[in-house]
Symmetry: D2
Subunit: 411 residues, 4 copies
């Protein structure tokens, strides 16, 4: 996000982010915005309301004297996981809620926006941080909204098209080469005045051995070789939990592949683009591919070391592709955008980590168990939402995000 | 249904039934019509499409040369359980389908109606039967549509109101008395030219012992006494499967009771009407209540013997109440309407039963296992859909229908 | 059982039945007697203790002044399902109990036997009934003990042999012919002084249409034809619940078949005897076979009408075969022994049924929901335990008992 | 383990370890040795056979020409998780196997021992390593055998006593103090000639910040304060997955606590020893306790740094206590023995990690997902099995091992 140097730019940022959420829904009807296709996903409508509740609960409620919520039940319905903020409607049941309607949710957004925009005009530093947090939070949910609606539409044998112009193919991916980095004591984590989440701090020292990292992500074409080599039938490539999951889920390919030639995208059914980065794979699949390829996944410290200094450019939400695509070129590329890259690192607190105070301390810290760090943003992330120190995290079996992998190896 | 004496009256019946389905949805938005709150229920939208598919598949496809479905996938989506007609989308996943939209379903209905109305003009006897079957089928789904949307709305802590004028209280229920019937060889089952389902045939002899039956159903007030007497905590009143269900489901009252004073209805949250028949109880609860009351449930043969000769009148869908209500009076009453009455009879083929030919043989016969017969129709049944020989059936644990009970006993 | 004319014969009967339970375990080690292979089954050791507890709880405790149980926890461990007698250890966990050891259970049996034998000497009529009930109860558990250990041993890839001399083949089965019976008002149920369970009473009138019944059960060879005709892949032969079960369980043959040539028996792995009655099939399979064969299952009233007057002879536990076998001959045969024959009748109370008083009322009555009646006894039943009016009952999906089928049809 | 300087000492080690396995079973009957109380646990009998199969499969089969297994099915039954070695009997079903009997398993052990002892006499270095691996493997299973039988006996309301003299109380625990360590680049991991597992290698550099570690583990008494402070009812102390587990499992105390005064031990029901280290807690509970106590868990690098240089002494299996106990004293103590200490570290490969070749590569490496490292050994570990670099690992929700915690904090 831009440095919130003054209230004006924060207001602009607020307007932009809030407007984008609705713009993403332009092609969706009320029916689309209501369904929930699995417990991990939420209805589009719920996302629109929840991010609004976030502003209401963490800002308006405390700071606008006499603030009146539109409906008291909304707090119960749209609290996601903040136990310290009170009880909440059970996540797997969000798709049972036909009310509030989409129209009522949009009107709820308007109600909160009116209050928020008034407040931002006189924002102190603390409020500015909270607003920025709320907007970054909404950006995260914009990505979830896209991956959730993709999952929902994929359940439908009519294979609805979300965006006619999405998923156009890119260029050829170019050769996979290796770039080396020298080890030693280095620093990772966020420092400075820009916005970041608590989990990116503190900036701290780590020891790294020498390593090399691939210049681009693994492509559909390369991944298909793994499949054809019997990757999904050969236990020695897999972590034990991964192999169990392959068996119990019957996995034989990434999510959304219909066969070895077609996959479902936000542009509907499309031919597999062999030059595009493979996506919708679990950590287990990324790890198995790497083992098959006699390589490994980078640690998050290695990834951050490699990314530091690169401009945050790439195939982000702004491109409208909504699907990773091949990118020609030399040297390290596609570190940002296209696919979230699974790392070898378990999601854990940095040494000296302190979560935010109060209920906001539940934002990130309590998830530091059994999840894996992913880095770099995807084709569904806003460009100004991503940075080198950004730590995304998911469970190793999850694959409905735009997840992919980049290889690394010891020197 | 009316005797389909001529094409004209069949056309009228067709228009009425088809129109009613849409009229029942007047207060619902697209979001409401999309949700599915449990595997036993279906989205309203799905009901509207499935009953239409029924006409398309069992009539138009075979009889209109060159008939073109709007979308080939609809056959897969809207086939409910006719295995011999092909594969089908899994029932518990119907709530994942945002497409076709409500608008598209309505247009599908129009497409089929146009063809159907043309056909009916020249209907032979066989076609008339199929049309009548399709309309009776739609009437059944109208009742399911109401009970399914009730279940869906009940999941919502906003407790949406389906119909503002629903669930108005009736009169006092009057005393429960007993009416005796002499045993011997008697006949049950359907005979004559009127429409009936295959499962009501053949008319056949049975032996009955003398019995008495209660003049009205058990009321909320009476059922509350059972609860207060510890009914849900006392295993000796319960069948073994029932007691297991009480434990595993944590049942302490009928479905939709919030406490001993309020319940959810299609008119929203309402005070419990103590004179109204108790409803939304499982067979297990009906059976346990009867045991507690030193009585038993009637068999279906007893019920039919008692009902024979009574006019089919009562609190049906036409009343708009959409909730059972008390009814003053003397003698046997409320046999029809208000609540489907659980009987002691397992749902089984009558001696000599022959299912319909072809896929339509799957309509009723294959469900003759582990289900119980219910009799008499409910406040959500169309009056012209019900008759003395009508056999409804549900699993003993199900309670989202307007189910209730009437006591019987040996003399 | 023999008429308990005097204390002497009751004492003999007591000694015989109690001794048989231990004799059935002669080839089993403590490990065998401890395992529980599914929630429906119990460890052999548990059976030995539970039937002993039955005498202790329903007789000794009330009638022997100052009776001291060996261990107070036994009441909790060995109560099966008598809720009114107190809490009980959960059935699916019985296989977790290594203590009491087999030796301790045998000693528990001795302790109770000593008391019981003293009591029986001075038994009044009421006590005689309770002792007879306890012994019939133990006979039922002897059959369960055999079917439960069969199930347990079948889980073991070593395929242990329970009895070396079991499962010897019988003779050719002879042709399947039909025997007709005239309908009308008839009586079924138990009458007279001999022992029977409460669920066999009262003797009562029923109406029967004319029917025919097959002269012998369906054989392995005939059932194999059904399989080869695609029986397990063709939904139109199946009840809806049955088809669901076939899919979810992956059934393609009766339980214990390894392929179309071998099956596991209490004599170890054996060739399929094509002349022997098919066994270890669920109600669903019996019903589907009958539909495929253009016939149906008999009702229990039809079965009892056909069996009435036949001597209770056949391949019972006493033969040592422990497996059904073919039997040559003319006319109605194998009604008793070999396999329990699934009937078309749901397990329900006879008109006027009254369960036993007190906790013993839980013995039979509370199971009258969703189960099916089976008739005639099996190769694992004691001959003196079976009679024409005997009603066994299991859930339609269960198949670890020696269950089979005999066809019937309308005339 | 002792340096296997010569064949003689390896023979001695072999005899000792193999004999200990049987000695641990002295108080168990065949019934005890057959039961499996949960999928995570295995029957005692299975442990005795599996460790024997390990020698047979990884040594005898390849090295003894013409080696004949006693039974070919044993390979299928006693392979635990080596997919590359072939199919295996499903783990959760191990408790269904009554055969081979205990006696047959003991005889299988003798058969393998005879061959093994002959081989060891002429062991080259590679064989010596494999034998050492097999014996360390058996030591691990000895600990599992004890924790598995503890779990099994705990399911029994008779609360059987495994060892009469077990679980005698220790001394008072002494005050909890803090010992500081300076940060910087340090090394962890195994180096040198002694036996170690592959997962302890390579020795490598890490960066540590300054930290302090508690001088002793958290005691029962301290943990009880956490409980009484509402620890199990307060979501802010818990990781998200932990809180979910607390809710779904209904946890309110460590495993095996009956109430706040008694717990089940291998010596039977005992009073809670308030000075003894708390045990049978999950990682989630350890982590929540630490957060409540304003501290954190040590990383494995911190733990190893603190332990390095301490003698491997403590309350190990050899003490016979089979339960952690309080230990008076000053300074850092109880780092070894008593309880496995949960660390903050996810179980992951060390930089440069290479698993063993072939199927033995499945021993450790494939479990490096979603598990946590524990350090220091327990009261059920053999003393010569434990060392500073030893990495044990379990899933964060598991608590049937002798697990506990030691606090750490930043300086
Ligand atoms: Fe959120
Ligand atoms: Fe239908
Ligand atoms: Fe019993
Ligand atoms: Fe092992």
């Amino acid at each position: 996000m831009p440095e919130p140097a003054d209230a004006g730019s924060l207001t602009d940022f607020y307007r932009q982010v809030r407007a984008l959420s609705l713009r993403l829904c332009e092609t969706l009807g009320p029916e689309d915005m209501t369904v929930q296709s699995m417990p991990d996903a939420s209805p589009v409508k719920w996302h629109l309301a929840h991010v609004t509740w976030f502003f209401e609960h963490f800002i308006l409620k405390d700071r606008v004297s006499g603030y009146r919520p539109i409906d008291d039940t909304y707090h119960y319905l749209f609290n996601s996981y903040y136990y310290t903020a009170g009880d909440m409607y059970l996540r797997p049941r969000r798709g049972l809620l036909s009310r509030p309607t989409v129209e009522e949710v949009v009107s709820y957004r308007g109600h909160v926006d009116a209050h928020m925009l008034r407040m931002i005009e006189h924002a102190d530093e603390n409020l500015s941080f909270l607003v920025a947090l709320g907007l970054n939070h909404e950006q995260q949910h914009q990505e979830l909204l896209l991956t959730d609606i993709k999952h929902a539409l994929a359940q439908n044998p009519l294979y609805p098209v979300f965006r006619e112009d999405a998923a156009a193919p890119g260029t050829s991916g170019g050769p996979l080469e290796w770039q080396g980095f020298a080890g030693g004591v280095t620093e990772i984590g966020h420092e400075g005045n820009g916005f970041c989440y608590d989990n990116e701090t503190p900036c701290h020292r780590v020891w790294l051995e020498d390593f090399e990292i691939a210049t681009r992500p693994v492509t559909h074409g390369e991944y298909l070789e793994f499949i054809r080599a019997g990757g999904y039938r050969t236990p020695e490539f897999w972590l034990s939990d991964g192999w169990t999951t392959v068996q119990s889920e019957g996995w034989t390919a990434p999510l959304y592949w219909l066969d070895e030639e077609r996959c479902f995208t936000l542009g509907g059914l499309k031919p597999l683009d062999m030059d595009a980065p493979v996506t919708h794979i679990s950590f287990y699949e990324a790890d198995a591919y790497a083992r098959w390829a006699s390589a490994r996944l980078p640690t998050e410290a290695e990834w951050e070391t490699a990314a530091r200094g690169l401009a945050v450019e790439g195939n982000f939400l702004e491109s409208g592709a909504l699907q990773p695509r091949g990118q020609d070129g030399d040297g390290l590329r596609q570190m940002y955008g296209d696919v979230w890259e699974w790392t070898a690192s378990a999601y854990a607190p940095y040494p000296g980590f302190r979560p935010l105070a109060g209920s906001l301390g539940e934002y990130n810290g309590k998830f530091m168990s059994s999840q894996r760090v992913l880095r770099g943003g995807s084709c569904a992330s806003s460009r100004d939402h991503v940075r080198a120190t950004y730590r995304n995290f998911f469970y190793p079996h999850q694959r409905w995000q735009f997840t992919g992998l980049r290889l690394a190896r010891d020197i």
